[in-house]
Subunit: 476 residues, 2 copies
Amino acid sequence: MAAAAGAVGPAEGPLLPGHSGGRRPVCSRPYFVVLMVFAHLYVLNVLGLLLFVHLSAGGGDEEPGESAATSAQGQPPVPAQSPTGLPRFEGIKVGHKLKVELVPNKAHFMKTLSLKPLLFEIPDFLTEEECKLIIHLAQLKGLQKSQILPTEDYEEAMEMIEISQMDIFNLLDHNQDGQLQLKEVLTHTRLGNGRWMTPESIREMYAAVKADPDGNGVLSLEEFKQLNIRDFHKYMSSQKVQMSELVRNSQHTWLYQGEGAHQVMRSVQQRVMRLTRLPPEIVEHSEPLQVVRYDQGGHYHAHMDSGPVFPETACSHTKLVTNESAPFETSCRYITVLFYLNNVTGGGETTFPIADNRTYEELSLIQNDVDLRDTRKHCDKGNLRVKPQQGTAVFWYNYLSDGQGWVGDLDEFALHGGCLVTRGTKWIANNWINVDPNRRRQLQFQEEMARYVREGGEAPSEWTVDKSYSDVHVEL
Amino acid sequence: MAAAAGAVGPAEGPLLPGHSGGRRPVCSRPYFVVLMVFAHLYVLNVLGLLLFVHLSAGGGDEEPGESAATSAQGQPPVPAQSPTGLPRFEGIKVGHKLKVELVPNKAHFMKTLSLKPLLFEIPDFLTEEECKLIIHLAQLKGLQKSQILPTEDYEEAMEMIEISQMDIFNLLDHNQDGQLQLKEVLTHTRLGNGRWMTPESIREMYAAVKADPDGNGVLSLEEFKQLNIRDFHKYMSSQKVQMSELVRNSQHTWLYQGEGAHQVMRSVQQRVMRLTRLPPEIVEHSEPLQVVRYDQGGHYHAHMDSGPVFPETACSHTKLVTNESAPFETSCRYITVLFYLNNVTGGGETTFPIADNRTYEELSLIQNDVDLRDTRKHCDKGNLRVKPQQGTAVFWYNYLSDGQGWVGDLDEFALHGGCLVTRGTKWIANNWINVDPNRRRQLQFQEEMARYVREGGEAPSEWTVDKSYSDVHVEL
């Protein structure tokens, strides 16, 4: 249960201002390790944010005052095209088709696949030759495993965090019935420490550390108190983990699309600009293209591409420029553009298990031992699946509108994953468009980037790139 | 089954151009009677439109060409605030609250209740005194039964229409299995001729006209062919109909809101303008306020406030001005603003049975003898119910956006009804905002109305008013 404690740790700073006496400072190395591991393991439900928001804001989701704050008090909610506003498509309704002009002398059609999230499909976005070239460039550059297993640094950091057993229990006990059901534990994916937890694996773990003597799969507060976190740790590190047991079983690399890049990479970026209608300065200063290979047996359990936004959240891409210290960090991927680079022989669909669901309830994702987020077992039970088709692009918004022409709350319906590849290999690429939900910070970032370009330097590309892979950033 | 035939009749003109030889001309009195009766009985699924669209367009909903036509070929779908465009709110997400300024020195909050349809709730839109005054004005003016039973004119018109028994069968046989299930017949509410059909009432009718000898509730083509439409008619007219068996069991009247009207009526109209952010010329030339009283036992089964839009559809409010002959007519109510004028002792909720449903499928509204549209029996099973609260306004869009800042397709999710009033009386008022989905016709209408006003005449209010009640239009 130490992982849970870890998630809570970073919140301590703001909770106890000027009280860092016997504790490690917020900027210590273990702290960054925790953040970085989180960035990788981030799937659903940031436990720490939960505690932080609970304790500091005291709930009150439905209070007029609070929601008015996020929609800037009575200004027109009409999607005004303000000078600094971001264009955002209307979905109209599922099946709606819109003609878009992406390249000269060719019409593309953008079809609405769902409204929650706002998701579109554009067939023939890339040509067969472009797909092949992108795969080739990625192979030349070399791919790395998408998920690294927790290191000892991580374990070390976990042990450092102080949080009472009782607090962890209360955070996990979602329905507040004084017991931990399996689904309540499953929801907190981070507890798995990189491993994908299933009802079976949790039962096994309970058995190994003798957490659930009556074996009913439910932990009472009494049972939970008996649990020794060191035993739990020992068990976790003793387990041999197969790639297929991870949250993500794939390999990937990053391809540069900026000035000097291969003409096809440049052209794809131009097309993404035309597609999303976002200003060039936003698209150009977003993450490079991520090319992903799923071998037979590969998968990526359902996850969010970006994290929730609170006043205390920093965006990875603007963090260095705005030079603010924030207890949380997320990648602020406003839009995901996903390209299918080949036709997959078997499986490998992209699933949106709760697309256009009437309501979102985290716990209802897991029903009677069926975890809808599990893309190895339950892809067939989700609401929407997109079959890979070479050259097709899909794109969706990971954030809602704030009603004022800018990025609002995370769209929880954007949960998605890569279904098990049952036969052959699957190649895709992701273009993430990063926008800071804090408009001021985004503008400051853009000005800074423009200044770099003016002064003749290359834009510091490592800012916008997953830092843990900076060693493989030999520009192609 | 003659009613079904009637619905199909008007389509004959365009289907058989220049072939009106032995038939009544399109503008004959019976034709208008049919249209008027339809306007009243209009609930779901315009049978005639179905046939017309089937035969003339040959299906093809998903063809890029066709859908591109409705979204004006490649123009920006971004909700641009074009000079002639209509503002439209963003819902953001269910529960989102937006501060709106409707009256000086008071903040109102508009809460998103659903995205499909785009539906909002504004508490305290009217004061208690305003509610009481509106009820008082309506009582002074006098209320009329909201639904009139079919007249002989209607029956006469029905008999005139030529359509083969086989064509009717095919139109009703939604799933094309060669049999008419009860739910297929129930879907075509118009067959009820003003009466609300239930599985029981259809079984009774079958028994009376000996339509279903094997009594299984399903009509085979053989059984259907044996059916004599005159017997069906005779049975229908012989039935004594209770108010509670009608589609709508209420009384209503219309209150003028224009120049010279009571200051409260003026003020409410101003507030509706501020709320919807629509141009004054649109709100001012919309239908007057409809005040409705539901006594104990009253209801209004789920229905659409406006009809689907095809190139051949005329809007009631622009029809006379644009002087076009069109085979179909609908009221083109872009927005419904509904006010609760009192607190109801028991029942009387407004139900949106399929709000935010993932998909819309007409037949799935009726499952195992449970008709979700039935607001006397099944209000508890719908997705969303709004409890009457004196002074609260709810408003929703009956049409989707066309992606170009104008009115698009009918939003089928806007299906709604008034639940059975189990105790006490329920008073509501409706402000419908009429907009022609054909932008040119709407602008032509506005110019014409402006000309009338300039020339010192009152805007011809009867144009915008339900014609069948023109005799009660003593302006208050």
